[in-house]
């Protein structure tokens, strides 16, 4: 039973509301810089919108989903009322206040620095303070997840921590640590300059700090999705998790290797040594491992469900799957997009291949496919699955839900495939308009137009999603019963201590951060004369 439905609903509604706003901005951006839009007489409006879109989609939306879902997992998987509900509300309100604080200067055009900050460009100080508040609010959630698990352990000494909670806490620890990079950048470097206390800043060091956050944040976004793969989908389609321990190993692998790989974002940067670039490149290859393991385990779990339903043959079982079930549909779409996005990621991770697409539209295509596609479609699925338990009402119209998922999938493919292509052609990122009339880039016009159409398909799907949830708040009441997670084929009674606790893996995560980031950060911080004059954005 979910005791704190209001808390969880508040997180989800806020998450999806800001998502709706940012999605609209995104579709507008796709349109306005495409050949079907007209050039903006004020390019700053584009960068303003881009800053808002990135800040919401990168920091606010996924964090709220992870938090709401985390509270739901804690209450249902542990079968224990949430400890620290007041604190949880405190965290929620911090995020609300932080978001408002950040969005006002952005809306006024005082902080059009994009969500990646990239000093020495400096915007209004309240933008950065707002982002800090959002992160601090989410850290309260991290602490609460840890405390709730601890309380449960005391009551159930030696028992196996339910997989969903084990993964959820792993995700929260990953976030706590990975947010430290951007937090250091903001607190030590940017905010003093934005507040006028300092006039210079080390742009290279800032990029290294940001890379600490920039990559692992993707795995934090991914955690709810993977938790849904393992613990919701098999249950929803009547299957079982193929292997409980393999699932745990995947999650702890994310914890260990998602973090010390961020410098593959700085392959083309001059302030990081080539040796560290290689180490990060190699570790980036490793992060494919938990995903490969997951693909196997989930496919096997699905096959179990199919065979239980009477599926036969080497591939014949696929037909026996309940394809009208939205959870399965979402999973299939998510896997397809993860496959393409992952293949693109393998290209980004190697220095040699990255050189041809670094900072082109390929990169934006890539992370929209992975995050907007593979990850967010499972956020939809999570919401659909949880909604009856949160509202006490049924989501009746499965057809509408399937339509929404189809639209999202089609929209994402139509948006991101041409996007990747123009990236290969060398189209740079983050430009307010392009002169497609010039013969040198005219061949890109068709692809960009397709992407813009894809953007509107995505927008229609997003609106449909909000409509379905809103209608679900008014449907006839129906008690959904306790919220349950999938069981493993061989549900373990006890688990080895290393796979039942996080300490060893957190220790390895921190150790690898020190080895892979310690020296580059220290040496840049201690080198004299690398700080450069701040450049304030938007003559104020």
């Amino acid at each position: 039973m979910l005791a704190n439905r209001k808390l969880i609903l508040a997180h989800f509604w806020l998450a999806f509301a800001v998502f709706g706003v940012a999605l609209t901005l995104g579709a507008w951006q796709m349109f306005i810089r495409s050949p079907i839009g007209t050039w903006l007489s004020n390019p700053e409006l584009y960068y303003r919108s881009l800053t808002a879109h990135g800040t919401v989609m990168g920091y606010v939306f996924p964090t709220l989903v992870a938090m709401g879902f985390g509270y739901a997992i804690s209450e249902s998987a542990l079968e224990q009322r949430l400890v620290g509900v007041r604190w949880a509300w405190g965290g929620f309100w911090l995020i609300v206040i932080g978001s408002i604080m950040a969005v006002i200067p952005v809306a006024l055009g005082r902080a059009s620095v994009l969500y990646t900050f990239y000093p020495p460009l400096i915007g209004n100080v309240f933008y950065y303070l707002g982002v800090v508040l959002v992160v601090v609010g989410s850290w309260i959630w991290v602490a609460l997840m840890s405390i709730n698990l601890r309380v449960w352990r005391k009551a159930n000494p030696g028992a196996a921590v339910p997989l969903a909670m084990y993964a959820n806490v792993a995700g929260s620890y990953l976030w706590a640590w990975t947010a430290v990079g951007a937090a250091l950048e903001l607190l030590l470097q940017i905010i003093p300059v934005a507040a006028g206390l300092k006039a210079t800043i080390d742009a290279g060091l800032a990029r290294v700090f940001f890379s600490w956050t920039l990559h692992a944040i993707v795995y934090f976004w991914l955690m709810p999705t993977y938790i849904a793969y393992y613990t919701i989908v098999p249950r929803a389609i009547g299957g079982r998790v193929y292997s409980d321990s393999m699932a745990r190993i995947s999650f702890i692998l994310f914890l260990v290797v998602a973090m010390p790989i961020g410098m593959h974002h700085t392959f083309a940067d001059p302030m990081v040594g080539a040796g560290f670039k290689f180490i990060h490149s190699a570790f980036t290859a490793l992060v494919a491992l938990p995903t490969l393991l997951t693909v196997f385990t989930i496919c096997a779990s699905i096959e179990i469900a199919a065979r239980l339903r009477g599926g036969r043959g080497l591939f014949g079982w696929i037909r026996a799957l309940p394809w009208d079930n939205p959870m399965l549909l979402a999973l299939a779409f998510s896997f397809i997009m993860l496959g393409f996005g992952g293949a693109g990621g393998l290209i980004n991770m190697s220095y040699q291949l990255d050189a041809s697409i670094h900072n082109t539209q390929w990169i934006t295509g890539h992370f929209h496919l992975i995050f907007g596609g593979a990850i967010v479609i499972m956020y939809f699925a999570i919401a659909y699955d949880l909604w009856p338990h949160l509202t006490g009402r049924d989501l009746i119209d499965l057809r509408l839900i399937r339509t929404q998922l189809w639209l999202w999938f089609i929209g994402m493919i139509v948006t991101t495939f041409p996007w990747h292509w123009v990236g290969i052609l060398g189209m740079p990122r983050r430009m307010a308009y392009f002169d497609f009339g010039d013969p040198a880039i005219a061949p890109q016009a068709l692809s960009v137009t397709l992407s813009a159409i894809g953007g509107f398909i995505l927008l229609s799907s997003g609106i449909l999603f909000l409509v379905i949830l809103a209608r679900g708040m008014r449907a006839p009441q129906a008690e959904a019963g306790p919220y349950r997670f999938a069981l493993a084929v061989h549900q373990p009674a006890t688990v080895p201590i290393a796979l039942n606790t996080h300490a060893l893996w957190v220790a390895l995560m921190i150790a690898l951060t020190l080895t892979n980031y310690g020296y580059p950060i220290l040496t840049l911080a201690m080198t004299e004369g690398t700080s450069v004059p701040a450049v304030y954005v938007g003559a104020q």
Binding site: Y118, L121, A203, A268, D269, G273, A285, A288, T360, V532
Partner: protein, 187 residues
Amino acid sequence: MSAEDIHGSAEVAARVERRWATIAVIIIVMMALLAAFAGIHRATMPQPRVETTDPSRIHLSGEFVESNLGSVLEANGNVTVRAIGQQYSFTPACIVVPVDTPITLRATSADVVHGILIQGTNINTMLVPGYVSEQLMRFARTGDYLMPCQEFCSFGHEGMWGKVKVIDKTDFAARAKAGGRLSCVGQ
């Protein structure tokens, strides 16, 4: 199902899983080896040194003063190109280089973070103020290439496009005879 059956099926499951994990590890090791191999044999590697410079004074002294920006033919037949990125142009705005010649690009930023991307090639580097970027390049075909700035550098970013002109080796050598630093600005 008897207890033995359960035990047996658990073992089968674990075996299948181990095989898959092995395949996954092999895939990953292969990828890392490929990266190392390409690094060694294709000579595509990140710049070997981290060099610093003061962006607000680059026009006063050192290698990025105005008279030193552009292409120069070195004694060994290689070419060095020096360039800067600034809000919102590259100097030189048009870079001229010979075809089929090893070229070293040395560049930095005078203000904020910029990037150099030469379309249709894998030449792509960030310009971070305070640091010098270095990249080896070699063009196989003559012709004109676009060189947009690939990192957001404030509100004029969309107008920051440079050009690269790759010309015949003998043409370049003839132009280099006059001395100075070459560019195709104004041509």
